[in-house]
């Protein structure tokens, strides 16, 4: 008897949890549904009162209008180029540094690691003004190098990769040494191949961070042709004077690829987040 009531009790509890989660989930995905539906609306649909949720006709013109209003593909290309360059540089530099700090012995290691650690405490907002002035004096405003180079911060990814490199058994490294491998050979043939998954996680993490980067590209670009996607979209809100349906078409083209990637890589993304949480 008491067991039966207990089961029923927890069943009810689960029902309540389910309903709460269900309603909140709908609220969470509502903006995406709204975005997709609205990207097909006509201007008349948009300014109808009360607001119309489903477009009256499926009109694709908003999409072509994005391309005529702003150099959308150029923004996309700028974002891809700078993000890939930043991520590649960050990961290569971090792997080299992590290997050097974990598996090699040289004087001053502790000092370098300490400076790296302290650099993680200093947010971009503190360093951005001197960095802007430095870039200005080097003529890097409105250049790809100006966007890319100042954003190469590697402390975080280095420490993340270091924690994996440290887990490689010393025996494995000693064995490679006996086989005549030098330090570079050990890194390329033993350490990196055995931490592929971890390096992929760090790459994903760094890629996402660079893709959404906002403040620095905003500061360092003045010409339209060097704007990255986030900056281009920011100006779209000011330039399109609330043509919401066009803004939605642009949002769909920006968000949908990410959502598709998200569906395929959700597991890895979740893992990269939990790992960074654990490590810190």
């Amino acid at each position: 008897m008491s067991k039966a009531t207990k089961v029923k009790y927890s069943y009810n509890r689960h029902t309540v949890s389910f309903i709460v989660l269900f309603l909140l989930s709908l609220a969470m995905i509502f903006p995406f549904v709204w975005m997709i539906l609205s990207s097909f609306k006509t201007a008349a649909d948009v300014y109808q009162y009360p607001p119309r949720w489903i477009p009256s006709v499926w009109n694709w013109k908003n999409y072509s209008q994005v391309f005529s209003m702003i150099p959308f593909l150029r923004y996309y290309w700028n974002s891809i180029l700078t993000t890939v360059a930043e991520t590649a540089l960050q990961i290569v530099i971090s792997i080299l540094a992590a290997y050097s700090l974990v598996h090699l012995k040289w004087p001053g290691q502790g000092f370098v690691a300490a400076v790296m650690r302290s650099s993680m405490f200093v947010p971009m907002v503190v360093t951005m003004i001197p960095m802007y002035l430095l870039c200005a004096s080097l003529g890097l405003i409105d250049t790809y190098s100006g966007i890319i180079l100042p954003q190469i911060t590697t402390a975080f990814t280095t420490f993340l990769i270091m924690s994996y490199f440290a887990s490689i058994p010393q025996d494995m490294i000693d064995a490679a040494k006996l086989d005549g491998c030098g330090p570079a050979g050990i890194m390329m043939r033993v350490v990196v191949p055995n931490t592929k998954g971890a390096i992929a996680t760090a790459t994903l993490f760094s890629f996402l961070g660079n893709w959404k980067s906002y403040t620095w590209p905003l500061i360092i670009t003045t010409k339209t042709e060097y704007r990255t996607l986030p900056i281009g979209l920011k100006y779209l809100t000011q330039e399109s004077s609330s043509e919401y349906q066009v803004m939605m078409a642009a949002a769909v083209m920006t968000i949908l690829p990410v959502l598709i990637v998200f569906i395929f890589f959700e597991k890895q993304l979740v893992r990269s987040i939990t790992l960074t949480g654990m490590k810190s």
Partner: protein, 316 residues
Amino acid sequence: MSTEMGAQKTGRTKRNKVKIFGREYQTNEVMIGLLFILPTIGFMVFTFIIPVIDVVELSFTNFNLKTRTMEFIKFDNYTKLLGTEDFWKSLLNTVKYSVMKLTLDTSIALFLAVLLDKSLPLKKFFRSSFFAPVVVPMVASSLIWIWFYDPTVGPFNQILGWLGLPESQWLYHESTALWSILLFSLWKGVGYNIILFLSGLQNIPDSYTEAAKLDGASEWQLFWKVKFPLLRPITSFVIMMGIINSFKVFAEFNVMTPDGGPLGSTKLIVSYIYELAFTNGRMGRACACALMLFVLIFVLTQFQSLVGARKTVDID
């Protein structure tokens, strides 16, 4: 490894050793180690060390990008800032936003993580739907919300109307603008903390919860007496990151209210620094403000880690 092999090895590499500061190193390890760390040091010098020295130096000058003047003015930037209404207002806005964001974000995430920790149908879908906004680009998704908040053609006022509630001016009124952006950033960010809490909850060994259940603990007690204390390191991390991130928030505010909102109600400390430096060209003043923000974040996180560390429980 066996000492025999070690001896063999040292025999071969004896000549390749160097002594630096009384310690012995292998020459090739030192060479390659320094070579590999060189790019890191190079970038650290240009993106960290030089800017940090410069920002301190500039904060004592009245360097202006527009007039190209630069004089040493000692602590004037700091004292003037402390006497500027705009500075205090943006700081107050930042504190208001941060406190609310931190409280709501952490508690909602923890609550939802506990719900998601149960075995429910559609659990995967729920988790994905909370997590999806975290990964989508911020600026693109704020375009959607700008429309939501439109007082006449936006769906939010329509929904309020259905519920019989009074309409709101959302981003266009000083009393609601900050909270509108807060709502957006909760939608955008809560999934991140859910993932962290959820992984923490799943790491709690079943034996702990079962033992508590055998002792007759209710679900409420189970959470507060067993799970919550065990989640402490994660809660601590979430709060720490929350402080850092909410004090330096900028992008969503700059996109949704580029001019600092109605009557400056969404002008945050970073927006203020941005405006000083890049709209007015007052680099010296902006540097002083940035340093003050840094000190504030630093003190808060140190304080938090002291409080957090004292009560940490090891899961192992």
